[in-house]
């Protein structure tokens, strides 16, 4: 088991080192996410007042779109010099490679959200600091579910010619439950009178989705990658 996590750790560390050097994923993803939020604010904020209860949906739309962009890029890097083959050739557990890639992309997406959430709070007058602990858990849970499915699909499509088109087509229908739970849970927290019980319910549901998605992904990663 320790070898499994050691491999996942070195794959994640390598991805983050490459990202720190190139800032390729982080810069494009942040730019894209901020643009999405600003576009919505131009349409939905009139005379400094935002349309009520739109902040959660806009936040999760920005997360889904920028997350898709990041997922596509992370495996594009492995395709470029065919390093994916070198990873698969190593005598390590192949699901550990998946966990390493997932952890790397999840960390990057959470970094993007660190900028995104205050921006949404500011532009749409959303009380993001009312229940920060629960909001953070919702963001982590939602992002994990989204990236867990997305990492498998992005890896699977790495050699497909139309991967940029296919990734969202495959990813969005599969992650609808995660998106619904994320939006509804966040809405329960950000509404004028927060409904903590409802937020807790969606959080528990997100946790369940995450477990199911991660287990399925670990189970399918090796067969999907080897043939």
């Amino acid at each position: 088991m320790s070898a499994f996590f050691r491999v996942a750790w070195i794959v994640m560390k390598k991805d983050l080192t490459v990202e720190v050097r190139s800032l390729e994923i982080l810069s494009t993803t942040i730019f894209f996410a901020v643009t999405v939020v600003l576009m919505f604010s131009f349409g939905l904020v009139v005379e400094g007042r935002a349309v009520q209860d739109v902040a959660p949906a806009i936040l999760w739309i920005a997360i889904a779109f920028s997350g898709t962009l990041a997922l596509g890029r992370t495996f594009e890097r492995e395709r470029h010099n065919d390093t994916l083959r070198a990873l698969l050739l190593a005598p390590s557990d192949r699901p550990a490679l998946y966990v390493g890639k997932l952890a790397g992309i999840l960390l990057l997406l959470l970094l993007v959200e660190l900028m995104l959430v205050p921006l949404v709070g500011l532009l749409f007058n959303a009380p993001i600091f009312a229940h920060p602990g629960r909001l953070i858990l919702l963001l982590i849970g939602g992002s994990l579910g989204f990236c867990a499915v997305g990492t498998v699909f992005a890896a699977m499509l790495v050699r497909a010619r139309s991967r940029d088109v296919l990734l969202p087509i495959m990813l969005y229908p599969m992650t609808v439950p995660v998106m619904i739970a994320g939006v509804r849970g966040t809405a329960a927290l950000l509404q004028p009178t927060p409904d903590l019980a409802m937020a807790q319910f969606w959080l528990a549901l997100l946790g369940t989705f995450d477990v199911v998605f991660v287990v399925l992904a670990l189970w399918t990663f090796e067969p999907v990658m080897t043939d």
Partner: protein, 237 residues
């Protein structure tokens, strides 16, 4: 692993037949060349030998075991140098080798990486990004990456492409070293003149099928052209 046996291997992609009826053995200390025009199935065969693809028919036996039986243990004994070099351009030569050394679970990675960099003649530039290296330098790093874990089976896909004369000589002498150490080496190449000086055996592939080689003392280039001429019309089978 002292012997590699490829037994009646075929591989289909959908209805397209990429390989069929391929059989050969490779013993310790042999260098086998996979020769053939583009699309002949050389890379597919290398991927099957690397356990990255499974054959649609037939089997590959590594020593006494198949890839399914051996799994990670077999992969630990394989070193592969692809046409794309399997290196991260955003990392330095040392970081690339260290990453793969750790991935293979090697002990004392730092020392082994330092020795590999010394061997490749790149110790002085070990902390430079690989993206700044020439093709020949990257090839040398990639070769050390493939050999870092002392594999028994070495697979090389077009290893001489884009190299100058000095780099070719360095690569050839490194291969001979591995050959003397008893490694099994399979390489796919179009460079027939270089191949002629290193190969102990050649397998001519045309449209995924092996073609008879009449090793009658002629140069490899002549044998290759004779094999291509004797093959059925391309796409006809």
């Amino acid at each position: 692993m002292n012997r590699l046996s490829v037994i009646d291997v075929a591989r289909y992609f959908g209805r397209r037949k990429a390989l069929s009826q391929v059989s050969f053995t490779c013993e310790a200390g042999e260098i086998i060349g996979l020769l053939g025009p583009n699309g002949a199935g050389k890379s597919t065969l290398l991927n099957i030998l690397a356990t990255l693809l499974s054959p649609s028919k037939g089997r590959v036996v590594y020593g006494e075991r198949s890839a399914e039986d051996g799994g990670a243990e077999i992969r630990a004994q394989i070193g592969m140098l692809g046409h794309d070099l399997f290196l991260y351009p955003e990392l330095t030569a040392r970081e690339n080798l260290t990453f793969f050394g750790q991935l293979y679970g090697l002990a004392d990675v730092a020392r082994k990486v330092a020795a590999a960099l010394e061997q490749s003649g790149l110790a002085a530039r070990a902390d430079e990004l690989v993206s700044r290296f020439s093709r020949g330098m990257r090839q040398r790093v990639a070769l050390e990456r493939a050999l870092l874990h002392h594999p028994r089976l070495i697979l090389l896909d077009e290893p001489f492409t884009g190299l100058d004369q000095d780099s070719v000589s360095a690569l050839v002498s490194r291969l001979r070293e591995q050959q003397r150490a008893g490694c099994l080496i399979v390489l796919a190449t179009h460079d027939l003149d270089i191949a002629d000086t290193v190969l102990t055996k050649a397998l001519f592939l045309i449209d995924g099928k092996p073609v008879a080689d009449h090793s009658d003392g002629r140069a490899l280039r002549d044998r290759y052209h004779a094999a291509v001429r004797s093959a059925p019309a391309r796409g006809g089978s």
